[in-house]
């Protein structure tokens, strides 16, 4: 109560800190990224040539697209473990589509992949709504189901670069003003998702749902509908990532994207999206994805044994946890100080 009549400057300072804390989270990853790139470039200047930058961006694209979708789901206090399988399915579907219709225009393949992914998202969303069971369990089930469908469809076939139109493969490595086309997709997705989450009512409602589901329900937010939509978006982005995967790697079998789910969750966590919803941004998640990929690319250049790579990813996650914890403690202290009765 006292705070109301208290020095308003103190209040302002407190909240400014809170703001700073939120920005600090993303800045922290960005700083880690810059540091990593700088050190690696010092050791080996070739790391940051035009080709090097292109490789970094291309390498992060697929994980970043998945991370954007995943963070939308995680913000609502859910999780989508099926993204790796959806990516695999969509990648194989893209290849099959080109195999069956060699002259297919690229946008059609893109749309088909996105639609297939969205359909998988619809399955996830519908099951979660119908079974009222944690998304973790449902998407664990569909992880296996989608992958099984992929296996059954592929029956051991492999689709190769020669089966796909050269124009499509060229998209996988082409650049526009030095920026890879695939990365442009990721940037478009990121900016669109980030803008939507910030400036549209339904976007803000996703945060509200993750922050407190009962309060969201009382506020008249259609919780079920929004969560459903989040899963459809996540599926659609995984579908898009599948098409990008096909364009980038050219060789496709039923194993594409196997095990990606945990990498994506790791990227989201490193990017500062709270796993229990309500806070974090897609920008952070995308930065997390870039950081994780860059680590994998930088370690070989730095001459660090590749065996350490996994450990580095793990250390990064634990460091992110530590940072989050420290920031939370600091923020709680500043907020407590200001609203105290004393």
């Amino acid at each position: 109560m006292t705070a109301v009549t208290q020095a308003p400057t103190g209040a302002r300072e407190g909240t400014r800190l809170v703001h700073r804390v939120f920005v600090i989270r993303e800045l922290g990853i960005a700083a880690a990224l810059v540091l990593l790139v700088a050190v690696t470039t010092l050791v080996n200047p070739r790391f940051l040539t035009a080709q090097g930058i292109k490789d970094l961006l291309l390498g992060s694209t697929i994980l970043a697209v998945l991370a954007v979708g995943q963070s939308i789901v995680v913000i609502t206090r859910n999780v989508d473990l099926s993204v790796g399988s959806v990516l695999g399915l969509s990648a194989f579907a893209t290849g099959s589509l080109f195999l069956a219709n060699p002259g297919l225009p690229i946008p059609v393949a893109l749309i088909a992949g996105v639609l297939l992914g969205a359909a998988c998202g619809v399955v996830n969303g519908a099951l979660i709504a119908a079974a009222r069971v944690p998304a973790l369990v449902v998407t664990l089930g569909t992880l296996y189901v989608f992958r099984g469908v992929d296996y059954t469809w592929a029956t051991g076939r492999q689709i190769n670069a020669a089966d796909m139109p050269p124009g499509f493969l060229r998209m996988g490595s082409a650049t526009l003003l030095g920026v890879p086309v695939l990365a442009l997709f990721a940037v478009m997705v990121l900016v669109a998702a980030g803008y939507y989450l910030r400036t549209y009512r339904s976007g803000r409602e996703l945060y509200a749902i993750g922050s407190s589901p009962p309060a969201a329900r009382l506020a008249g937010i259609p919780v079920g509908k929004r969560v459903f939509a989040a899963f459809v978006v996540s599926g659609a982005l995984a579908g898009l990532a599948g098409v990008l995967y096909a364009a980038r790697f050219g060789t496709l079998d039923a194993n594409a994207g196997n095990g990606f789910e945990l990498n994506v969750v790791a990227a989201v966590v490193v990017g500062g999206v709270a796993i229990f919803g309500g806070s974090g941004s897609v920008y952070g998640a995308a930065l997390g994805a870039v950081l994780l990929t860059t680590i994998s690319s930088a370690l070989p250049v730095l001459g660090v044994s590749q065996f350490w790579q996994r450990a580095a990813v793990g250390a990064l996650i634990l460091a992110a946890i530590g940072l989050d914890r420290a920031l939370a403690v600091r923020m709680a202290r500043s907020l407590r100080g200001r609203s105290g009765r004393g």
């Binding site: 109301v4 009512r201 506020a219 008249g220």
Partner: protein
């Protein structure tokens, strides 16, 4: 007023939760420009009525008419669309979002292309806060707000709606006098602009200041609706209670013995300060106060759930280590928490397992529980408390609310405590069980147990306590013996306007 048709009208509304019939055949009319008071005892069904008006609960039967059109709300969004804004009894904020966003969630001001206009939202929030005299920064997150600030944000949230019907469920419970005055002037201007206000409070002075008509509810039923001018406080209380109060409180005098619980200078910064009191064996001491006064927090700190910043707790002469619940239990303390479903019981475990969950020492050897001893202890206590259950192996979630309450009691009584702290012991249980619980408390005191009872029900406090301690804004402000305790003296102390200490 009654010439024009009501904006909103309820007829024959009933609602039950499992065994509890929260509402039956309730009616209510709200007219444009009126402030309508709704009073009733705890558990009379006021909040349930609010939730039905808000679309948060569907009514079992009955009709709801807005502007002459019969409506069926399928969710809160429908009620909002019909122009109904609600301040719930418990704050419903989003801790991660900013205060401004909390206020405007789902109806943020928009600019081109349906985008949120953040600047307009911030400005509107500042303006609302200015009207209410609140000094909060619109950009700070809701996390960490005090109960009072949360309540103010809730009020701002409802005002932001420009609603035609504004429902306020105990909005003033945590507010200070200045803030209440501000709120009343805002409500007054709303009324002048033609809105209807439904106002729920346990403070009669507020009801009479603000409201032109008053509806009384009792045990989920509509009792009466009359112009405020035709009513007195005594008449209201008679209608609310509607039964012989004395039979509900079978307090027997017990021999008061040694001091068993002593609390000295207990402090948790920002929550309560320098709380000192003592409870003697055989004594029932009530801890009264308004919602948010800090009573539950004191109980939790005494019990070691929360670690106090300063002060000590002495049980039977020995000082407890701070923040150690197991040590408190071992020393003979027992706490029946206020939120039983969340904190008192493990809903999936059976009655017997719940009942003996805290009985760690005598039933186990080397940590091994002997099924037989456990079952016997559970049966003994269930029989003494008359827990109605088919089997002791049933999960607690299958019991009615009152029986759950008894299981919580059994759980703690089976530890044979020397000091029993009960927080809102009869919240949400029906009249018959209420009397049973009271009889039991009185019986325990008779056996020499020191009982500390936290209660928001004034009749219960007055009917059961040997001594009434009153808290106001985190401080102990009065210690009133049974003979001098009455409604007025306790309420005055609780609202910080008088009292001794």
């Amino acid at each position: 007023m009654s010439e024009s048709p009501p904006i909103l009208s309820l007829r024959d509304v009933s609602k039950s939760f499992g065994a509890v019939q929260a509402l039956s055949g309730v009616r209510l009319d709200l007219y444009a420009g009126e402030a309508h008071g709704l009073v009733g005892e705890n558990g009379a069904g006021k909040s349930t009525l609010v939730k039905i008006l808000a679309g948060a609960h569907p009514a079992d039967t009955g009709t709801l008419t807005v502007d002459g059109k019969e409506l069926a709300f399928s969710g809160p969004a429908d009620a909002q669309a019909a122009g109904i804004a609600v301040i719930y009894q418990e704050p419903t904020l989003f801790p991660d979002l900013s205060v401004a966003e909390n206020i405007f969630m789902s109806h943020q001001p928009l600019r081109s292309m349906r985008r949120i206009d953040a600047n307009a939202m911030r400005a509107a929030t500042s303006e609302l806060f200015a009207r209410l005299g609140v000094g909060l920064d619109p950009d700070r997150p809701a996390r960490g707000l005090s109960i009072a600030d949360q309540q103010l944000v809730e009020i701002a949230k409802a005002l932001a709606f420009d609603a035609r019907v504004l429902i306020m469920d105990e909005p003033t419970a945590a507010l200070s006098g200045v803030e209440v005055e501000r709120l009343f002037s805002v409500v007054g201007s709303l009324r002048e602009s033609g809105a209807a206000v439904l106002f729920i409070s346990h403070r009669f002075d507020e009801i009479f200041t603000l409201c032109s008509r008053i509806t009384v509810m009792r045990d989920g039923r509509w009792v009466s609706t009359d112009p405020a001018a035709e009513l007195t406080v005594e008449e209201l209380v008679r209608r609310m209670v509607g039964r012989e109060v004395s039979s509900l409180y079978p307090k027997t005098a017990a021999a008061v013995g040694e001091s068993r619980l002593e609390v000295r200078g207990l402090t948790r910064h920002g929550v309560f300060e320098d709380v000192s009191f003592a409870v003697r064996g055989g004594e029932i001491v009530a801890l009264a106060g308004l919602v948010g006064a800090g009573r539950s927090e004191v109980a939790r700190a005494v019990f070691g759930v929360d670690r106090p910043d300063a002060g000590e707790v002495i049980v039977d002469g020995s000082t407890l280590p701070p923040g150690d619940t197991a040590a408190a239990i071992a020393a003979g303390l027992a706490l029946v928490p206020e939120d039983r479903r969340q904190q008192g019981l493990v809903m999936e475990l059976s009655v017997e397992r719940n009942a003996t969950l805290t009985r760690r020492w005598s039933l186990s050897r080397l940590g091994l529980l002997f099924g037989g001893a456990e079952r016997a202890a559970a049966r003994m206590w269930s029989e003494r408390l008359q827990v109605k259950t088919a089997r002791l192996t049933d999960p607690v979630s299958t019991l009615s609310g009152g029986n759950q309450q008894k299981v919580v009691l059994a759980k703690w009584l089976s530890t044979e405590p020397g000091v029993l702290i009960v927080d809102e012991p009869t919240r949400g249980i029906d009249v018959g069980t209420k009397a049973e619980v009271h009889r039991l408390l009185s019986e325990l005191a008779g056996q020499g147990v020191a009982v500390l009872m936290i209660s928001s029900e004034l009749p219960e406090v007055l009917g059961m306590a040997d001594r009434v301690l009153v808290m106001h804004e985190g401080r102990l402000v009065a210690d009133i013996p049974r003979t001098q305790a009455d409604e007025e003296s306790v309420m005055l102390a609780a609202t910080g306007q008088g009292g001794g200490a």
